[in-house]
Amino acid sequence: MAGVRLKDVTKRWGAVIGVHNQSLEVRDREFLVLLGPSGCGKTTTMRMIAGLEEPSEGEIWIGDRMVNDDLPKDRDVAMVFQNYGLYPHMTVRENIAYPLKVRRVPKSEWEERIDRAAARVQLGDLLERKPRELSGGQRQRVAFARATVREPKVFLMDEPLSNLDAKLRVSTRAELKHLQHELATTTIYVTHDQIEAMTLADRVAVMSDGIIQQLATPEEIYDNPANLFVAGFIGSPSMNLIAGETNNGSFLAADIELPEVGGGSRKGVVLGIRPEDLTVVEAGSGHFDAPVYATELTGEAILVTVVVGSQHVCARGPRHMRKDIGELVGIHADFSHAHLFDSATEERIARSS
């Protein structure tokens, strides 16, 4: 059992920067999710923790030991690779047994441990097959079993569910959460699927361009995004970001004026408000009116995109409402979860000032 700490870690390949001056503390037994768009440095961060990539600068700590100079085998981590990394010439059983073999676990323990690890991910009847005879999802489960066959200090999982179908992903997600609780092992988990991040994580680190934008609990990230990137990245449909300015606490953009938003008087302000906090009402009875650009039925509600100046704003309407494109509708806004951002620094600014 151990936490993981990155201190000012940078990874460069020539002029390419994979991870930029990153500091991160993963607590003991914590489930931390690295979330971010493709190419933001998630895999690179993992690989540096595993010892497969040497940081250009900075320190990596596992428990109370600085592991920069340790070989992967001495770091006692287990990793599930983005593209499985199974041993193609070994059977599933041999794959799962390999960590036991090279770590000199007594042979008498193998059988029980392999069976337990395989049973956790329902691999029972596939043990004698070769990886090439398995589907993508099955391979991923083998990679899981191989990682969980021993008790490492840290689990590193690089998009382990990316190749499962939607249904299996949901059920595996639940199993994974249970498994992590049961094993009580520090876990660092990479994904670009925010639902996965929100449901699994104790804390989420949102990354972009090799930099952690925000590290907080899922609720905190959702309710109080630290900057424009996080605000736009988290949530589906994503948060409306409307550029404008404030004047004495009123928000002005294009032809709308929203009173009592806060933020004093300043130029270059972006208002962030989630679609679920904007309700479609009859024209004239909301905070402002706008023409309908498009409507999408999600099942439980209808999403209505309206045009505000040159920007699109997404709002929710009751399931049975039907509006034609071009029709004028009213929008009622609930500002209790709205945010203001500085459009130059992209940081969130306090609404009370």
Partner: protein, 290 residues
């Protein structure tokens, strides 16, 4: 319908050329191996004598068996050493290895030299008076300073083996670098994270995946080792005595020194046997992979 005939017509010239330059001489030499033909006595082949050339080689000629032993030892040594050394170099040079050589293509240089040239240059380098290697080894291991390398049967054989290995390492290395580069990188990395040392990861994960490439390399190199001729011809000419006489050299010697063409042809065809076996495995491996 016309296309079907046309395609045969189009390959016909190539088939004719191959037949005239490869198949026909082969058939001729096979026929010749069953006839007696002493070039010193007649310029046309003599009568058919059945298996006599073959039985003479196999039953009556100690020199044939000497050449067989020389060829076998030579093949085992060159194949073994070349593969091992090339594998070591390839591991260092392959992507992710410890050595970065931007001019990897330079490696191929020795392979670009004709075997005969390799033979000549090694002969000069082991010349007792002005040879570079001769002087070098003499300095390194003083007891060797006085030996005349190419005059000693064992050492001459060693020099031949060395020259062969030197000439072949680049090509085999390149093939193996290709093989290593094609291995899925994560499998090796997974082994490291699972707890394997560098050696264990190599033994348990890299080597088994490299096996098909290694098999092809070994078979191919064996074929080339068995038929070694030009290098030996230029380096030692089979000597001293018959210490470095390979089967190919032995066949040549009988044909163009003793002018016994029928016998030489039979020796050449005996050599073909192991080649056929190796070629069979080679093509099986190559086409199974493709």
């Amino acid at each position: 319908m016309r296309d079907r005939h046309l395609k045969y017509l189009l390959v016909l010239p190539a088939v004719v050329v191959v037949f005239a330059t490869a198949i026909w001489p082969l058939i001729q030499s096979l026929i010749l191996s069953f006839r007696t033909w002493k070039l010193s006595k007649s310029h046309v082949p003599g009568p058919f004598i059945g298996w006599e050339n073959y039985s003479w080689a196999l039953l009556e000629e100690p020199d044939f068996w000497n050449a067989t032993v020389v060829t076998t030892v030579y093949t085992v040594l060159t194949v073994g050493c070349t593969t091992l050394i090339a594998l070591g170099i390839a591991l260092l040079l392959a992507p992710g290895g410890r050595l970065r050589l931007t001019v990897r293509t330079l490696l191929i240089l020795p392979f670009a030299m004709s075997p005969a040239l390799v033979g000549v240059s090694f002969r000069f380098m082991f010349n007792p008076e002005f040879g570079l290697f001769d002087a070098f080894f003499g300095l390194l291991i003083p007891p060797l300073a006085e030996v005349s390398w190419l005059a000693d049967p064992t050492l001459a054989f060693a020099v031949c083996v060395m020259a062969d290995i030197w000439g072949w390492i680049p090509f085999i290395t390149l093939v193996l670098i290709g093989g290593i580069a094609a291995l899925p990188k994560e499998t090796v990395e997974a082994a490291y994270v699972d707890g394997a040392s560098g050696f264990e990861a190599f033994r348990d994960v890299m080597l088994p995946q490299l096996a098909p490439v290694l098999a092809i390399v070994i078979i191919l190199k064996s074929i080339f080792s068995i038929k070694t001729f030009d290098q030996i011809y230029m380096l030692t000419n089979g000597g001293p005595g018959t210490a470095t006489q390979t089967l190919a050299h032995y066949a040549y010697f009988n044909g163009f020194k003793y002018y016994d063409m029928g016998f030489a042809a039979s020796v050449a065809w005996i050599m073909v046997l192991p080649m056929i076996v190796l070629t069979y495995f080679y093509t099986r491996y190559v086409f199974r992979r493709g």
